[in-house]
């Protein structure tokens, strides 16, 4: 997902102040400069960045740091907490109306992904909240916009109400709502035309549609790649319509998605959903707190668990997670995991959720074929080797044999071995790494966050990693 590069920058910035006994003001200044730059590179709005860094700086230099804690730990915690705060504390779900249909209005700029998301959202709410959705095609301006919604509706088996392009959108919505009530649909999603927030005529049209439909939710669809202008756009839509939530689309790209932070901070509008792929099932509830831990390079173990339980037998997934967390993770488990991952979806998407692997997934080196190669390598191991990964570490002849057997290079075999090793270590640490745990860890050893790229190098344990000692 997003934020990998921000993770890298923050890790770099934080590395400088780790390994020191005391945190000086100069250290904090230097770190904040890096944090500021990395957030700006992530497209977080300039003013938001300013506020954020000054808040963090104040907190870091305040009395809290003096409780005898490791300063590095303290700062990581502060940055994490503040990022969570910045993005809003809890994911807020759609408000469903108890009597009568719930009406959702999709609004946003051109090309943000309203039409696709309208369909995705309908299918998601049908599946998770047992609603009976209907879509209304109110985009009469963009050529073939209605066609697009009809096709999406057809693929998802969701009916689409449309009246062509010669009818005023206000009228379409009015008729559509009437039709939906008659037919007993309890979720109505209105797909409106993309428009510029400065186009008064079209903004007025939205205000009217809002009145006519008495929309329960007005969801602003925002492209995750949006730059500094995100704040202007969100503010303008919010002022005109009292937007109830945001949907962040195209989060499966390599964008850092700073727009999400800015919008939340400046307008107070919560991000409710995230679009994470081109498939019509690829939408999920937005979890601000998980995004924050991803920023800090802790991966998104929670998202992984949730995804796994949704797609896979729960017991199987849980025992796998336990194994991963315990650090007793061998090649048999890895193979099983690969098979699960195959069922869950694209490999690179999953890999990004694992702690420290984000950069690897984004480096472009991992395409989904890798999964096949990894399987081939594991299947060329003896049963004993799969159970005891140490055997391979000790013997190069074993590794060479496996390389020959699988048709892959020795380097790849080595890389896989070191990947398993790193994963064991990181999972174990990720399991301990929660805000509550951090409090307790004051005196004890802190988890070290590996430099993500070290994974592919497969040499020098913890080299270039950043240790909070």
């Amino acid at each position: 997902m997003a934020f990998e590069n921000l993770t890298g920058r923050l890790q770099m910035a934080l590395r400088r102040i780790t390994g020191k006994a005391k945190l000086t003001e100069v250290d904090i200044e230097e770190m904040m400069r890096e944090v500021r730059l990395s957030l700006l590179e992530a497209d977080v709005n300039f003013k938001v960045v300013k506020d954020f860094t000054s808040e963090v700086k104040e907190l870091a230099m305040g009395e809290k740091i003096l409780k005898g804690l490791d300063p590095g730990q303290q700062v990581v915690k502060i940055v994490n907490d503040e990022l969570v705060k910045l993005m809003g504390n809890e994911a807020v779900l759609v408000d469903f109306r108890q009597n009568g249909p719930t009406v959702i209005m999709m609004v946003g700029l051109q090309g943000a992904g309203k039409t696709t998301t309208a369909g995705k959202l309908g299918a998601y709410l049908r599946k998770n909240h047992q609603l009976k959705p209907m879509l209304i095609a109110a985009d009469i301006y963009r050529p073939a916009a209605i066609d697009q919604l009809m096709t999406v509706g057809q693929k998802l088996d969701i009916p689409v109400f449309q009246m062509g392009i010669d009818v005023n959108p206000r009228q379409i919505v009015e008729k559509g709502l009437k039709h939906a009530k008659e037919q007993g649909y309890d979720l109505i999603i209105i797909d409106t035309a993309g428009r510029l927030h400065i186009n008064e005529t079209l903004m007025d049209e939205l205000v009217d549609i809002k009145k006519i439909s008495k929309a329960d939710e007005i969801l602003l669809t925002v492209d995750a790649m949006t730059g500094q202008d995100a704040v202007n756009v969100a503010t303008a839509f919010h002022e005109a319509l009292d937007v109830t939530g945001c949907i962040l689309t195209k989060l499966d790209g390599d964008t850092r998605g700073g727009a999400a932070l800015s919008i939340r901070k400046v307008t107070g509008v919560p991000i409710k959903f995230a679009g994470t792929g081109e498939k019509l099932t690829e939408i999920e509830v937005f979890h601000p707190e998980r995004m924050a831990s991803r920023i800090l390079g802790m991966g998104d173990v929670l998202s992984l668990i949730e995804k796994a339980t949704e797609e896979i037998d729960e017991d199987e997934a849980m025992s796998m997670m336990e194994k991963m967390m315990s650090g007793k993770f061998n090649f048999n488990d890895l193979l099983k995991q690969m098979k699960m991952i195959k069922r869950m979806g694209a490999f690179s998407g999953i890999l990004k959720m694992l702690p420290g692997m984000g950069a690897l997934a984004n480096s472009g080196k991992v395409d989904d074929k890798q999964i096949v190669y990894i399987q081939a390598i594991i299947q060329s191991m003896t049963e004993e080797e799969r159970k005891n990964p140490e055997l391979l570490e000790r013997s190069s002849s074993r590794r060479n044999r496996i390389a020959r057997g699988s048709g892959r290079s020795t380097t790849e075999v080595n890389r896989l071995i070191s990947m398993l090793e790193k994963q064991q270590a990181m999972m174990k640490k990720a399991a301990n790494f929660s805000p509550e745990a951090m409090e307790k860890m004051a005196g004890g050893a802190m988890p070290s966050m590996q430099n993500p790229t070290a994974v592919s190098k497969g040499k020098g344990k913890g080299k270039g990693g950043f240790r909070l000692k």
């Binding site: 300039f46 927030h197 492209d223 390599d254």
Partner: protein, 323 residues
């Protein structure tokens, strides 16, 4: 009189640049403090002023690295010219902005037409930047310039994309070669090239599906499209344009970089400049990757596309110097 005033002294020139201004002025009026105000209100050239300038450029999405480099160039120039009045920075800023874009080269973004034969234009980019709309508008423009045009519906993925292009075909009055949804885009474009050659059309504009640059398989699909065109047309009469939405932030750089690796880019089409976003990322793209801007989209109407003009663009960024 500054460079800027000199440049836009002619009424004709200013009238042309107005188009850029209309779109871009809205932010300047908004929360963003204008460059002119900042220079006027500053008493001397100091760190606070440089910080303020950095802020303005970053807010235009020009990007951290490019802005940091740009501001350090400004500092050098201020030192060299021994300037002390903030308002005198105006000329240096405009001057350096040109330098940043031009890089001492003559930027030629003209389409390399194949005189007497077929020229192919391929449009690529991430989802939702306005590829199909830009093709429609550009086809209309080229047609008005006397070229015969044809379109290829290479976006066989997005629902409704083929029909969207067909509607543009009707508006422009040109033929659209299309297959069904889900067809191999390379095959669509191969057929379109064949058909365009037979029909002796001057320019074929090819649409492609929006793809995020980190999707390996989709980028491979694009590579195949590129190879198909190269095989049929050769590399000298074939241009590839990356369509970039003006609201795009720093991800624009990653887009340009990765698309450039797969299919060499002739230039950028900067769309939706009629909003409040300034599209400053294209300056970073030019600065860091050397890719120029070829066209700008300035609205939803069929005529709202133009050849990019760096002078007009900079005028749009700083037009308040005239007010």
């Amino acid at each position: 009189m500054g460079i800027f005033q000199k440049l836009f002294g002619s009424k004709e020139k200013r009238l042309k640049a107005e188009k850029y201004k209309i779109g871009m002025e809205k932010t300047r009026r908004g929360s963003l403090s204008s460059l002119k105000d900042v220079l006027k209100q500053s008493k001397k050239i100091d760190e606070a002023l440089y910080d303020k300038l950095e802020e303005i450029f970053i807010m235009a999405d020009i990007g951290v690295d490019t802005v940091v480099g740009f501001v350090s160039e400004l500092r050098k120039e201020v030192k060299k010219q021994e300037i002390s009045s903030p308002i005198a920075l105006e000329n240096i800023i405009v001057d350096k902005m040109f330098e940043l874009y031009l890089k001492g080269e003559i930027v030629n973004t003209n389409i390399r037409y194949n005189e007497g034969g077929l020229t192919v234009l391929l449009f690529v980019g991430v989802n939702g930047t306005g590829k199909t709309t830009s093709i429609g508008k550009l086809a209309h423009k080229l047609r008005k310039e006397g070229k015969s045009v044809m379109m290829a519906a290479g976006d066989t993925f997005r629902a409704g994309a083929i029909n969207q292009l067909k509607i543009w075909g009707e508006r422009v009055g040109c033929e659209v070669v299309a297959k069904s949804e889900g067809a191999d885009p390379s095959a669509v474009i191969f057929d379109a090239i064949k058909h365009a050659k037979e029909a002796k059309v001057d320019v074929l504009l090819c649409d492609t599906a929006g793809r995020l640059q980190n999707k390996v398989n989709l980028m491979k699909e694009l590579d195949k499209i590129k190879r198909t065109i190269e095989r049929e047309i050769g590399s000298s009469h074939y241009e590839t344009y990356l369509v970039v939405d003006a609201t795009t932030g720093q991800n624009g750089l990653s887009q340009a970089k990765i698309f450039q690796e797969v299919t060499k880019l002739s230039g950028i089409v900067l769309t939706k400049l009629d909003g409040t976003a300034k599209g400053g990322i294209v300056l970073a793209i030019r600065n860091e990757l050397g890719i120029p801007i070829s066209f700008v989209g300035l609205g939803e109407k069929i005529d709202d596309i133009d050849y990019f003009d760096i002078e007009d663009y900079i005028y749009g960024l700083f037009a308040d110097f005239f007010e």
